[in-house]
Symmetry: C2
DNA sequence: CGAGGCGTTCAGAAATGATGAATTTAATTT
DNA sequence: AAATTAAATTCATCATTTCTGAACGCCTCG
């Protein structure tokens, strides 16, 4: 049994699909299949049930998965310790941004990193809260900015409370008083499938919102609202600027604050690169250590 | 980095000697050397300082060794879990005996094992407390019987308190009253370098005992005492039987009790084979679970 | 100063793992 | 009912890694 067996085991368990797992591991299905098979023989235990839909863990597989993850974590821990106190950090960090680069001080951040951690190469990736979370969880991304609550397994640094407001097309209910029911029954342009604003609105409107169009891109949502396709959310400052041009209206009843946080996987807190990045994030947003 | 790198790392750290490590790993020095080298490159850290005497850990190596051991333990944990609740246990157990097979109910034990755990093959190894402890620690032996205190890292089942007495040649101080000083200054035939009886005697006689001959074998010590080479310890029952033949005398002033225990490595308590063996030991000595 | 340990280097040999095409299976679609 | 799709697996071949045994260099010890 070697580490690559465990890695394959864990990834196949996550993806429930050998083909995808092979892709994620930069390998091919036959190779990963052989890993699993070898592991099963060595442990003398069936880890997965195969079907044409994919591979799902057996009960014993679920138990063993936890142990396998612990073992891999332990190995990562060792590698991290080795990298600690090394003269220069060398590595790569993929950072997810759920807002514009300007809003998240991207340029300043890059400057700081290349100044303080010249060995770390940085990749900024424009994305959305939901995608950022899943990509961090699968290891495709190392950290990022997200809105809303912090899921289990993540560690967060709260950057600020963002003022969010609702915007509507200029002519939306222009002649009557806008009721909560109006808002609840309207069509919304949400940000993504699992939108952190959704929960807030459920609390406020007592119902889930209906949405047929999603866009994680601020400017796109703004454009869609302008074209009368529905309501959406946007940062207050942006909304106010746009209101001046006169194509939208702000619905102040539905304003709220939403925490913006920088998050990484808790299990990676010992990674020296993650440590360094967290320090830089703290510097960037002027929060004390 | 794979498991075999860590295994080599740990064993070399233990033996401080690449050649011995290679033997213990059933491999060759160049192979193990390459493992260490690869690991050092991958971790970008010197793990050992090489000298003509052998290999000793660097400071960082000492830190990393702990992590490496944890990782390997974690993997063993997983394998153990996999083997748990398996229909039939299959494996091998090397058992160290510090007394005669009869005294430790060897035959009955073998019977029980082959009855209750037919998949486990057993190897009995006549040895001494000290050797058994070191061999268990290095993994060459899986468990065994020892006298005296239980060292760190071991888990023990106390079997009984053995009555030990001192025997002397027939003509030893036959005409005078034997004083403690006489005993302390006499030549002793001890059992081994690190003799568990030594401590007891230190307490009783207030000094360490001098010994030029060691033998872990009861009958050999008996023979040497008979030939007037010095004093020694032996189980009371054996001594009394021998006294009848008239070649030795018992020195009842120096009798004491010594715990006899079955021990295994604590870290191996989760090993299903170890679990099974412990159960059998409990049955053998009629101790409740 | 020579013998014996010890770790390392090196070239060839052996073992292992990866790959891509073909196969199998079963669910889904036409 | 047939065709299609998506999934895992098998297999022969290829590429890579790893192991081995001999030779080497270094140091210590008698």
């Amino acid at each position: 049994m070697e580490f690559y067996h465990l890695r394959s085991f864990v990834v196949v368990a996550e993806t429930k699909n050998l083909t995808q797992a092979a892709k994620r591991l930069c390998s091919t299905p036959p190779a990963i299949s052989a890993h699993i098979k070898t592991l099963e023989q060595e442990l003398d235990t069936a880890l997965f049930v195969r079907s044409t839909k994919g591979m799902t863990l057996t009960e014993k597989g679920q138990l063993l998965l936890i142990k396998a993850q612990k073992t891999l974590d332990s190995a990562v821990d060792m590698v991290n310790l080795a990298a600690d106190n090394q003269d220069e950090l060398i590595g790569h960090f993929s950072l997810g941004l759920n807002q514009s680069i300007q809003a998240l001080k991207g340029a300043e951040f890059i400057d700081n990193i290349s100044e303080n951690c010249p060995g770390i190469s940085l990749q900024l990736q424009q994305s959305s809260t939901g995608k950022i979370m899943t990509e961090i969880q699968t290891g495709q991304m190392d950290g990022g900015y997200i809105y809303g609550e912090i899921p289990d397994g993540f560690t967060a640094i709260e950057i600020k409370q963002e003022n969010i407001t609702t915007i509507a097309p200029k002519n939306f209910a222009s002649e009557k008083i806008i009721t909560q029911l109006d808002l609840a029954q309207s069509m919304w342009i949400t940000m993504e499938q699992y939108c952190p604003f959704d929960k807030v609105l459920k609390q406020k409107l007592g119902t889930s919102i209906q949405s047929k169009v999603q866009s994680a891109h601020d400017q796109s949502r703004l454009e869609l609202v302008k074209n009368g396709l529905g309501l959406s959310f946007i940062e207050l400052a942006v909304a106010e600027k746009e209101q001046l041009t006169g194509d939208i209206q702000i619905i102040p009843q539905l304003s709220f604050q939403m925490p913006l946080s920088f998050v990484v996987l808790t299990k990676r807190l010992n990674d020296p690169i993650v440590k360094a990045l967290i320090q830089e994030i703290n510097i960037l947003w002027e929060a004390p250590l």
